[in-house]
């Protein structure tokens, strides 16, 4: 487990990324391959959201980062004490079809990127002195090998891929934080 408390400023985002990949490379294998790009992309959006939306660019906020890595899996937890948000209130990103140029969105892609590139994304709104908690989890296998997926998850993956999403939300637990009221970011 790696823990790090970072100023909530964009200039410190690379430090958060460095902590994540140091933890992965020290404790996990196989090599990340393309999962690296996906984790980087999701982490960037998560950190941006905290700095720009939770703290709204106000200096003094902090991001408490916790990274747990083991074979082929990493869990990244980002805590902040800024403004909470309602994942269900975020408009869905609609990927452009039929070259509809005018409809191309210029923002609102961050949550979609997180949901798409990570296997699990869960958000708990802070209350009663507890912080907002965003958890990102990613699993990967060596390139060329089939993804080892437990039967329950396989069914969820199948369902989610049919609806155009990758697996987004699966129940999990943590000894550090009570997530009994955690709001998953599963699309309704």
């Amino acid at each position: 487990m790696v823990r790090l408390s970072i100023p909530a400023q964009l200039a410190f985002r690379d430090l958060a990324l460095q902590a994540v990949f140091t933890a992965i490379e020290a404790e996990a294998d196989p090599p990340l391959s393309q999962a690296r790009d996906e984790i980087v992309s999701a982490m960037n959006e998560a950190f941006n959201n905290i700095v720009l939306h939770a703290y709204r660019g106000i200096l003094g906020g902090r991001v408490d980062l916790a990274v747990s890595a083991r074979r082929g899996e990493v869990e990244i937890e980002l805590c902040d004490r800024g403004r909470s948000f309602d994942p269900d209130a975020v408009p869905d990103y609609v990927a452009p079809d039929d070259l509809d140029i005018a409809a191309l969105p210029e923002n609102g892609m961050g949550l979609y990127i997180m949901r798409s590139f990570m296997d699990e994304v869960a958000y708990t709104r802070g209350a009663h002195g507890k912080p907002n908690v965003l958890v990102l989890r990613k699993r990967w296998t060596p390139e060329g090998l089939p993804h080892e997926v437990p039967p329950g998850l396989a069914a969820a993956k199948k369902e989610s891929s049919q609806s155009g999403w990758r697996l987004r939300s699966v129940a999990f637990s943590s000894q550090d934080i009570d997530r009994s009221s955690a709001g998953s970011l599963k699309r309704k």
Binding site: E45, N48, L99, P105, E106, M109, I113
Partner: protein
Amino acid sequence: MTTTSRTDSGDETILRIEGTLDAATAPDLRGVVDAIVDEGRLLITLELSGLRLIDSSGVGVIVSLFKRVRANGGQVRIQGLRDQPRAIFRLLRLDRVFPT
């Protein structure tokens, strides 16, 4: 950190973007985009082989350029997209919109 260089050659403008295009650096690129649009440049090539990382803020600026140039009757072409930026463009299905 982002490095941008603009080269005008006849009707075509080549905009080379290198490094990281993200929430911290995208505002700087907006000024370059505004200038290109205000000058009425219509044939734009984004050369992105040196772009190491992009986030949704960076994508937003490129989409803005694309929409504004297209609205003026022009075209934005992308070349050199690779690695993480390529993964983002594919995810957002922008690779189907931008001529590459």
